[in-house]
């Protein structure tokens, strides 16, 4: 059994499970964030953010999530490095193929999962510095603006909208991040099911449609929020 996690399929087994698990996080995250769109007073969002911040269950899930993410990253790195370093170069030191028409046989996203993952990771770091770090550690004057809610509830809404309004170019970063996430999911979702062996001829097309829907929802959702905030600000 120890060989399981060393074998190529075993590694992908874990990669897929963690990938699917991380989608769960995205679901929660997006459902909280859309509240920004539905309530321009920020009440709902702040309430939800407070709940996430203080709920003990979330407190437990958070480190698990972090472990999942790290596992996902580490395995993806190992798999990619092995594929690249060990296999993808030709033994005589030549380029693998002088001419290679991979466009004809596979999607760009599927061939560039690691690149997309890296973009997402970079984005994630920026994103964390912008919000997570401020809310949890350093604090920010915006957080303390009156919320109209019970005391102790931070005004995360002000922090979020403030960022997009003050630094308009940051919207672009968020849109790029969302697109990278979408492309990653476009291949990632069905691929995870495939690697877990939960696919067959019938389910394959269903799973890839699910993958497309999931990727559209998250890419669209996460890109829409900053754009919405920006437009809202410009219109008002």
């Amino acid at each position: 059994m120890s060989n399981f996690f060393v074998s190529s399929i075993g590694k992908k087994f874990v990669l897929s499970l963690t990938g699917l698990f991380l989608i769960l996080f995205l679901v929660v995250h997006l459902s909280v964030n859309v509240l920004i769109v539905f309530d321009s007073t920020g009440k709902l969002f702040n309430q939800a953010a407070h709940f996430m911040d203080t709920n003990p269950l979330i407190g437990i899930i958070e480190p698990v999530l972090a472990i999942g993410l790290v596992l996902h990253l580490v395995l993806a790195t190992i798999i990619t490095a092995q594929n690249q370093l060990l296999r993808d170069v030709n033994y005589t030191g030549n380029k693998r193929y002088q001419k290679s028409n991979t466009r004809e046989n596979s999607s760009w996203a599927s061939r560039n999962m690691y690149v997309l993952g890296t973009v997402i990771l970079v984005f994630l770091v920026i994103h964390m510095i912008n919000f997570f770090w401020k809310i949890k550690v350093t604090g920010d004057p915006l957080l303390n603006e009156a919320t109209g809610l019970e005391p102790g509830v931070k005004n995360a809404y002000a922090l979020v909208t403030g960022l997009f309004v003050q630094w308009k170019w940051s919207v672009l970063i968020y849109v790029i991040g969302a697109i990278a996430l979408g492309l990653h999911l476009y291949h990632g979702v069905w691929s995870a099911f495939q690697s877990l062996g939960w696919s067959n001829r019938k389910w394959r097309s269903i799973l890839s449609i699910i993958g497309i829907i999931v990727s559209l929802i998250f890419a669209g959702g996460f890109a829409f929020i900053p754009v919405f905030v920006l437009i809202q600000d410009m219109v008002c």
């Binding site: 296999r87 005589t92 193929y97 002088q98 001419k99 046989n105 599927s110 069905w190 394959r204």
Partner: protein, 253 residues
């Protein structure tokens, strides 16, 4: 039909190899791709040059000998077609065609376009069979096999072992090849009893021999001359994972 051919030439496994360019004046659109290479070799022989080595035998798409990268695609541009079945109608007058051998760490070049596919043999030896000795078989109709399963097993079993899947794969993974065999046996009652173990052994061998791991790009399926489906890879994954858990929990297999 006039063609410019950029062909990989490598005298021996140790030779570094290089592309050489040849002009073939008298190609015809009626030729198959290999007949075009025959014509090139006739030309090279008449010029006292070493003919291009390439593998071929049946010339009808079933033996799996022929194997080359044509303009960046294994077996050339046509779907579900081996190199030997590829018609020169797929090319135009004055085209330049780049011809390369399969390239993967586990497929070293022997000469020119010929690579060593022994790694496939080793994978087969690791488990691509049913343990049964001649003479020990029960009456053929003892076990019924649902027609659907039998048909799917034939599809999986139609793999010709050409290696195009490895050549196409950016990871040089042999998953489609391994999956075709594991899936065939997994679908049939005769192969079922040792299913998980087979998947386990064949994948371990595949990993050991330096094939990459599958990232589900699907390139292999598109380039496979027999149209072997990715669904078989899913079945292989299933068999492997099942096999893994069985060894984890069961006392004995």
């Amino acid at each position: 039909m006039k063609l410019t051919l950029k062909v990989w030439r490598q005298h021996s496994p140790k030779d570094k190899g290089r592309f050489e360019e040849y002009i073939l004046q008298n190609a015809s659109s009626d030729m198959t791709f290999l007949e075009m290479l025959d014509a090139l070799n006739e030309q090279l022989i008449s010029q006292d040059k070493d003919p291009v080595a390439f593998e071929h035998d049946c010339r009808e798409g079933i033996c799996g000998c022929c194997a080359m990268m044509i303009n960046g695609r294994p077996h050339g541009p046509n779907a579900e077609t081996t190199t030997c079945q590829l018609n020169m109608k797929a090319f135009k007058d004055n085209d330049t065609i780049v011809i390369e051998p399969w390239r993967a760490r586990s497929f070293p070049v022997i000469k020119d376009l010929v690579v060593d596919r022994q790694a496939f043999e080793k994978i087969m030896e690791a488990g691509g069979f049913v343990h049964m000795d001649t003479g020990s078989a029960p009456e053929a109709n003892t076990l019924a096999v649902p027609k659907g399963k039998a048909d799917e097993a034939i599809e999986a079993a139609s793999c010709i072992g050409c290696g195009a899947c490895v050549a196409a794969c950016k990871n040089a993974s042999a998953m489609l090849f391994v999956a075709a065999k594991v899936s065939q046996y997994a679908l049939l009652p005769q192969g079922k009893p040792e299913g998980g173990k087979r998947a386990w052994n064949m994948v371990a061998k595949m990993d050991e021999l330096g094939f990459g791991s599958c990232t589900n790009t699907g390139a292999c399926e598109v380039e496979c001359p027999k149209g072997i489906s990715l669904a078989h890879i899913a079945r292989l994954n299933r068999e492997f994972i099942k096999g893994g858990f069985i060894t984890l929990v069961a006392e004995e297999e």
